[in-house]
């Protein structure tokens, strides 16, 4: 008790007293002084000194507590050996790797589930949003039911439902279901064939990239030509042909390989092919389906925000329905849809932190394990918060810039 109290007096107490005195002085001044500007500055001084007082108090307590519990501080642990396995990783990792590398593995897993989730959520959400606006009564009801059912159940419950459904309702590995030959569903995960590595496949991959680049270029050229001559070329069709055709030709030129590595039950596990873990699938499925309900609502609201008069004006000018959709409805609807949808993307990324509940090794799970092994709670939680904060801020900065650039000017 004695060293603690002396420590208390030795380091921090005078600073707290000092800030306390500052705060008291600022408060008295703010109440007594009539000058508006000065008053405002004194209120600010009060706020700052109170925060500093609280901050130094907490910092002091933390240092004393950590010392008492013999917990190290600082980020040195990131260079130490982690000594735990991670079930799935995008980069080489073993128990001998460092904590720092483990965290990187976790972050990449977070990115993987978030990006794939965002893609599926967008496809589902936009589709359901459009369907909820058709004149078809049955389709409208189904779309509405989908949205209501998903939105009103906590996302964590969704994750558990998916996970439990996979692990409890699917058969064990050795009796895996096989709806299509070569594809197996079991409570230990999903197994499916992948192409054996071959030059043809590599060529096809590069062909795909080349196809996309060519499609973009072709659209550009067509647009410039239209500006010059007025001629309207079928850009959409050409783009699709390029994106499909170029990789196909590359694959054929590369020898048209057809060998697949097909999973087959050998002993206690599948060999060949590749697999999706139940943990990943539960998090991915639950997050994308849950988020799609919100995106569907955004899409619906965005399309409804384009007034009927806009479509009528387009028709009156003799524009075809396709041109009205591309040049009038979509540009306006997107301006309404995008900001809340960006928010949903961020929410999905933040919700991926719930992976820890089913054991998908995302950033939070790995940090949690690290925290339990090292006891360095402050550092581990700071890392989680900083990574998410940086991701969120970067995304919102990007989206704000984009939103400003497409904002409809009004007086």
């Amino acid at each position: 008790m004695l060293p603690l109290t002396t420590g208390y007096f030795a380091g921090y107490q005078p600073m707290q007293v000092l800030f306390g005195l500052f705060a008291a002085a600022a408060l008295t001044g703010a109440i007594l002084i009539k000058d508006r500007n000065l008053k405002g500055m004194l209120w600010e001084a009060l706020a700052v000194s109170l925060i500093l007082m609280l901050g130094t108090y907490l910092a002091h307590n933390t240092i004393v507590n950590l010392a008492n519990r013999k917990i190290a501080t600082g980020f040195d642990f990131l260079d130490r050996e982690a000594r735990f396995e991670i079930s799935e990783s995008l980069i080489p990792y073993s128990a001998a790797s460092t904590y720092g590398r483990a965290m990187l593995v976790g972050f990449l897993n977070t990115l993987k589930v978030s990006i794939l989730g965002i893609i599926l959520a967008t496809i589902l959400g936009v589709g359901i949003g459009i369907l909820s606006l058709t004149r078809n009564w049955l389709v409208r009801q189904l779309a509405g039911g989908y949205v209501h059912f998903l939105r009103n159940i906590p996302v964590l419950l969704h994750i558990f439902l998916w996970y439990t459904a996979i692990t409890n309702l699917l058969p064990p590995l050795r009796q895996a279901l096989s709806p299509v030959p070569g594809i197996y569903l079991s409570q230990r995960g999903f197994f499916y064939p992948v192409p054996e590595p071959a030059t043809g496949w590599t060529a096809a991959l590069y062909g795909l990239i080349a196809g996309v680049v060519l499609a973009v270029a072709a659209t550009r050229v067509a647009r410039l030509r239209q500006d010059r001559t007025g001629e309207i070329l079928p850009t959409g069709l050409v783009a699709i042909l390029l994106v499909i055709g170029v990789p196909l030709i590359a694959w054929l030129v590369g020898g048209a390989p057809t060998a697949f590595s097909v999973p087959a039950l050998k002993g206690f596990n599948f060999e060949g092919g590749t697999s999706i873990s139940p943990e990943f699938f539960a998090v991915f499925g639950a997050l994308s389906v849950y988020t799609s309900a919100y995106i569907a609502e955004n899409t619906r609201a965005g399309i409804l925000a384009v007034s009927r008069g806009q479509i009528e004006a387009g028709r009156t000018l003799g524009l075809s329905e396709g041109v009205i959709l591309r040049q009038i409805i979509l540009p306006q609807a997107l301006r309404v849809i995008l900001p809340p949808t960006t928010n949903q993307y961020l929410n999905l990324t933040k919700n991926s932190s719930l992976s820890v509940a089913v054991g998908y090794p995302d950033l939070v799970s790995i940090s949690n394990t690290t925290l339990n092994q090292t006891g360095q709670a402050v550092e581990c939680i700071s890392i989680i918060m900083l990574v998410y904060l940086a991701t969120s801020l970067a995304t919102s900065a990007l989206m704000n810039w984009y939103n400003r650039s497409i904002k409809v000017v009004e007086r």
Binding site: N61, W137, L138, R151, I153, L156, L304, K350
Partner: protein, 367 residues
């Protein structure tokens, strides 16, 4: 196709066209080839999904009897006796079995107060008093220790009452914080504005789970040696801070929606900042934000389910507890569905209420 979707603006029905079943079907399901295809696909989906669900959930399900009957249908039928067997545990967690009337009564009081607060006619000063008395009564019921009630510490609290306590407290206590943050973010004083903006953006940028980890693992480090706050309170504090940042943004939305003329009018009357804020700005802004506030409450209500990760047994946590019994373990899905149903009914009715308030406000504007 997207263009005809702007709603049923033109309905073709010649004079005296019979609005019979066939007419309705043609108009709503088969008005065009595309429409017919959509209808058929929907039917296909329904046929694909509904019969297996009905078979599993109703026809093959076990409604009475014992565990053996459940074991027999495992995988092909639902075992609803799991719910019948464990509903007390799911609803009230580890609260002593004989004393469970106390959390039940507390839940009834809380729901009654919430229901009363939803009715505009009851928005009178006495409602505040009722809430104060209600809180006192609920505290006595849950903790006990007087009036001959046995003392029950917070580590025994669980189930639906815990979920309700966490979410209602979160909204109630985050409200003053949120008002301060929202006003601060719109303040003329740059330092105050920076502090408030920084706090709001920081909290909104990180996942709730990290805030809960902080509450459960870092708060003990922040406190002087020997001082300890129990886990429930720490989690509650974390949820309040988290909710505060989101509610602050909702309130800021209300402040921004306020017509400029209102503030100019208050300025022209010579009101000071606090008078202007207290008598003119806040009352109007707050009544504007009631519907989004209800939505925040729904979000918080769902979010409290995350406390399971730091080891509290809310509604969802206690369902998991129930499935820990090895004999019943295979029937966890049934328990989860039961919990999902409770969440769904609560959130769906709250969402309906929010839309009702919104409609009411719009009608008020038109008058």
């Amino acid at each position: 196709m997207a263009i005809e979707m702007t709603g049923p603006a033109t309905m073709a029905a010649p004079a005296g066209a019979p609005r019979d079943v066939i007419g309705w079907l043609r108009e709503n399901l088969f008005s065009s080839p595309l429409n017919s295809v959509l209808t058929l696909i929907s039917f296909g989906l329904i046929v694909l999904v509904v019969p297996p669900l009905v078979r599993w959930g109703i026809l093959n399900a076990v409604w009475t009897g014992g565990l053996e009957r459940c074991k027999a249908v495992q995988g092909t039928g639902a075992c609803w006796i799991f719910i019948a067997e464990k509903y007390r545990l799911i609803l009230f967690g580890l609260y002593p079995f004989k004393e469970q009337w106390r959390p039940l009564l507390m839940t009834v009081v809380l729901i009654a107060l919430l229901a009363a607060s939803m009715n505009r006619a009851f928005w009178r000063p006495w409602l505040g008093l009722a809430w104060l008395l209600g809180y006192l009564a609920m505290g006595i019921l849950m903790w006990g220790g007087i009036f001959g009630l046995a003392f029950e510490d917070t580590d025994k609290w669980g189930g639906l009452p815990l979920t309700l306590i966490l979410s209602v407290n979160a909204i109630a206590f985050s409200f003053p914080l949120a008002i301060a943050l929202a006003l601060g973010r719109r303040s003329d004083l740059p330092v105050i504005r920076m502090i408030c903006t920084g706090f709001i953006e920081l909290v909104r940028g990180v996942p709730l789970i990290s805030v809960l980890f902080m509450a459960s693992l870092m708060i003990p480090l922040f406190l002087p040696a020997g001082v300890d706050i129990n886990k429930l309170l720490r989690a509650q504090a974390g949820i309040i801070l988290f909710t505060g940042a989101y509610v602050a943004e909702v309130i800021r939305g209300g402040l921004q929606a306020l017509p400029k003329g209102q503030i100019e009018a208050a300025d022209s009357l010579g009101l000071g900042y606090w008078q202007k804020t207290g008598f003119v700005v806040l009352p109007q802004a707050l009544s504007l934000v009631i519907p989004p506030m209800v939505n925040s409450f729904i979000a918080t209500f769902k979010d409290t389910s995350l406390v399971i990760i730091i080891g509290l047994f809310d509604l969802f946590g206690s369902a998991r507890l129930a499935a820990n019994d090895p004999a019943w373990r295979p029937f966890y899905v049934e328990g989860l569905l039961f919990v999902a149903l409770i969440y769904f009914v609560s959130c769906f009715s709250l969402a309906r209420y929010s839309r009702y308030v919104e409609r009411l406000a719009r009608q008020g504007d038109q008058r």
